[in-house]
Symmetry: C2
Subunit: 702 residues, 2 copies
Amino acid sequence: MLKAFFTPQSVAVIGAAREPGKLGYGVLSNILKYGYTGQVYPINPKADQILGLKCYPTVLDVPGPIELAIIVIPNKFVPQVMEECGKKGVQGAIIISAGFRESGMDGIKLEHQVLDIAKRYGIRVVGPNCLGIISTHTPLNASFAAGMPPKGSIAFMSQSGALCTAILDWALAKEIGFSHFVSLGNKADVDEVDLLQAWKDDKHSRVIIVYMEGLRDGQKFMEVARQVTQHTPVIAVKSGNTAAGSRAVSSHTGSLAGSERAYQAAFHQTGVLRATSIEQLFDYSLAFAYQPELKGRNIAIVTNAGGPGIMATDALESSGMKLATLEPETIETLRQGLPAAANVYNPVDVIGDALADRYEHALKAVLQDKNVHGVLVILTPQVYTQIEETAEVVGRLAALYGKPVLACFMGEEKVGPGIKILNRYSIPNYPFPERAVGAFRAMAAFSERRQRPAPQYERFEVDRERVAQIFARARSEGRVTLGDAESREIMEAYGLRIPRSILARTVEEAVEAADSIGYPVVMKIASPDILHKSDIGGVRLNVANAEQVRDLFDLLIFRAQRYMPEAQIWGVLVQEMVAKGKEVIIGVNRDPQFGPLLMFGLGGIYVEVLKDVTFRIAPVSREEAVEMIDEIRSYHLLRGVRGEKPSDLDAIVDAILRVSQLVTDFPEIVEMDINPLMVHEAGKGAVAVDMRFVLKEKESEE
Amino acid sequence: MLKAFFTPQSVAVIGAAREPGKLGYGVLSNILKYGYTGQVYPINPKADQILGLKCYPTVLDVPGPIELAIIVIPNKFVPQVMEECGKKGVQGAIIISAGFRESGMDGIKLEHQVLDIAKRYGIRVVGPNCLGIISTHTPLNASFAAGMPPKGSIAFMSQSGALCTAILDWALAKEIGFSHFVSLGNKADVDEVDLLQAWKDDKHSRVIIVYMEGLRDGQKFMEVARQVTQHTPVIAVKSGNTAAGSRAVSSHTGSLAGSERAYQAAFHQTGVLRATSIEQLFDYSLAFAYQPELKGRNIAIVTNAGGPGIMATDALESSGMKLATLEPETIETLRQGLPAAANVYNPVDVIGDALADRYEHALKAVLQDKNVHGVLVILTPQVYTQIEETAEVVGRLAALYGKPVLACFMGEEKVGPGIKILNRYSIPNYPFPERAVGAFRAMAAFSERRQRPAPQYERFEVDRERVAQIFARARSEGRVTLGDAESREIMEAYGLRIPRSILARTVEEAVEAADSIGYPVVMKIASPDILHKSDIGGVRLNVANAEQVRDLFDLLIFRAQRYMPEAQIWGVLVQEMVAKGKEVIIGVNRDPQFGPLLMFGLGGIYVEVLKDVTFRIAPVSREEAVEMIDEIRSYHLLRGVRGEKPSDLDAIVDAILRVSQLVTDFPEIVEMDINPLMVHEAGKGAVAVDMRFVLKEKESEE
């Protein structure tokens, strides 16, 4: 997939220039300078020859086939050139030229025009408004970047071209190797999803990293990302995650950023690791690129300095990782080989005068320990420290045990040569222990994710047709909200328990209903137009007898007519009074990028005041539903505190799954909630007491 | 203060060695090599001359005075040498030698012995088991460090000598300047508090940074830190802040780490900025060392790259800083000087092809804007970017407006020369925008802290004598807990409202009491030995009439005798039934380092399940008490949600202050809580319903 971009047989540079200051020169010269071995055709009607290559006026004049075209000409000429590319049979085009969507209305039109041409001819497009593409293993540097990173196994894509220049500059100095380096620009065609798919089975790429400001199709991203993270770690920085940041994204890219919560949920559900900064992005990616899988959370620390060992321990503990408990034999081995003042428990302190041999002894011991999943080696440059020799020891031993080893040689000048040696052995070095621990944390998250089975989306037996009819009727009547009876019918159709309930159109019907349900009952005004019934005094709990039922029926009807004279009134709903339990909320909002965003939390102040809620994109699996419940801070209240019995967690999971199925089946639901879902003791179920639906406006249908 | 360590007229190196591999050689050679201009005396009975200096057998043989002695000899000889130093009139000794407290019982004894000698002669001691001291402005390098950092304005102290070596190595490469660089070692004498005091008015030190694993005297640290942070920022990394980390500290230093909560509270209350890593420590300190004060939270961003601008915006927003709203004139100025595609609102995007002049225009405009308190300049190395020229522009302009400017020139190789120029202009550069924003955040915290008036500790009129008597009696009876009546008496003595309450020894007294208080009443078993009365059914609310009072009196006495036959029983307490309100808890625990640690939170699940609590070291000021209430997540519940009236916050503040005064007045209180303090509507006060005291065991008195 997208082979034309990464391993083309032939490339044309449309807009190749003779003047070294120009981008069209830079691109051509990068292709040649960094060893591309396929056919290269400069295209420039005003030149015969550039950089020793014969120049052609248009691609149509080129004798052989052209797989990839790189376009570096003023924006207005791009459509014509794309036509020519189409006729020539070009398969991929990198449009470096700017002046498209990012520059206002005319640019948007131009971009559409170019894309139409591309579609007509089946040309895939990267850009416009991008820096280009580098594939180091081909090798092909089809960009105007100022350099070529070393060959490596990090595949990088970025929505920001400027960021690419900074990262490249940094990577060159640090000798960080990449497999691919792609500036996505405006993402008119090829986007993150395409590249994830393309790199999924790329043998050169051990880790995929992404800088993004927004996605076009969140659901598609999730589908693909979920597959990729089964074998390749994907790490993303998503910027614009605060209100001000999101405004900045809009003014920068003209695109609407989806909600931060939805991104957070989507990354979590698909196993995409989120980095909060570019620094973290690379901290993580080096560990994945260079080291074997971390198969558990237990880390051993070997250090020649107490302080940094403590800092590493703090970082491990506070990030949910564990300080490995060493086996008795390991401790014995350490005791024998280390001086008396050393600490033979984890963190293993070989103390300040340790030479390389002491590191070797300690490192070998902990790497052999079956309780240890990974090792962090800390070194400070003390008087007798053998920096380079120790680096050699670390490099040699790390390769033997199939366990990841990360290093933290602290300092810069004196430790520099040691770090270079580590680099040669593919041991990532982090300047401070906290950052190494962060990388371990990411590695653990990736492995744990892989060990989980792929999510299964259970489907319950439901009466989908009945719900479809209710929605159809509402929309035929021009309504976007539903009446209580309709909402209840939907709940029933999807197997959610609701209170027994009878619609009474007359006083006599109400009394009859209450008698048959049994006292006390609840009475509610029944109207499709009154959403917040309590606000107009339209709900009464604990109605105790027939006399009260009579009085209230009249009162509720009277109030509804008085406060909302326009409302259509169906009568009064007489309901079973649901026994007190724990009130929880299940809500759904439709995110523009990701679709149905499920929310779960405890009702009342927990949601409203403490904002103690959690989110997932629907559909969710059973495991994800369980996770949602586990995640809220007030989870303990559901487990039962102070001698209370635990609540029926299975019933909540069941309700979440049924709601998930409902909103997945019916994209026309833009908002819904069950508030409260009254949850009883374990084994006694949960009842949806009140619910609310908002449907998509007919006009806004896609 | 401690002048002998930083600007001595003369130094002796006791244990000066001729062999370059030895520490005693390293120290002497560092003193000479890095330009110390005072008298230097090598002390070594076996040598005549070292490094061209005449050698003396002992300090007593030296003709002139010796202000500072640096001791680099085997541990067992240190006491004798200290005696000689004492006789010679030496004022300060840096004991580099190891083999003291860190190495077991014998070492501890030796350390005590040395300290006794030092005290006898009035010699201050740094170490033992340390790297030494560097004062760059003297200049004096009295350490065996492998180098000398440039002159600068960062004063650094570290409990970890190994960390010093790493930081020095890094600082040399980055050309970070220090004023002082102190390895504290075992802190037998001179500790963090002494150095804070010494550097408080040091003209060379603009910022003081500390790596610590534990403090000896928390209250003293607070007292001094509070003064220092009034004009000099103090930044601390405190490691061992998790359970595992704290165990690692103990095994490393043999000292008990105080509670993380207490450190957190102490730093907060004294304005010490806490860094979570060494990286952050230096990120912050560079900003303070190089740039003027940040006088508000509004930051302008000038960038040539959209992506990093968004990341900076996210970081600002999520850290509580603000993206400055630019004045209309500024926006107009920007519009005129920048191309149409630029973004003239904050973040100001001068776009990818910006040369230095465009940066100059934008930077000048935002620096002049009165809404802007500080500026972050972001640069990515794009094709036309003038890295060095732009650095010159940033450096020149930053000096003119008295506002802090931080830079984020992203990359490494190409931007390197620009960063060097920035460095020359004292503009700190951060590799990623998030880290620059972190530094701004620290600067804002420092300024805001300074603008706050020094805390005033109000003292209420209380009956201290009465409480002293209660404690005296309890302790004379060998009790560490108090009875209900005693606790109530203490509350009354300190002006805390309690329910009306009468101790009844007989049934008739109980009825009489209830009649006079008015029904309903609460009845509780009265016994100094029964702490958890509810657990034995010893409390009954809502007692409605005289008949119930009679029955219950007998029942409570019967139960108490049955379940706790040993307990001394005073009778039954008949109490006013306190009207329902919001239940809060005020608790106190005594921290080994910092003393009384006050806790505040809402009662019930908020404390127990949600752990929604906040801490301060007592005494607290009124502002601090208000802060405590503001800080808890459930604060909104006290403000009133869903139409409830707000609770009486003033009454809570009053109660916190009175408890603060109580536990400050009586260090023998090791634990106490008021649970619940029942808080009524604003203006209606708060009542301490139940309280509990634990006093110090007589045996453990200090």
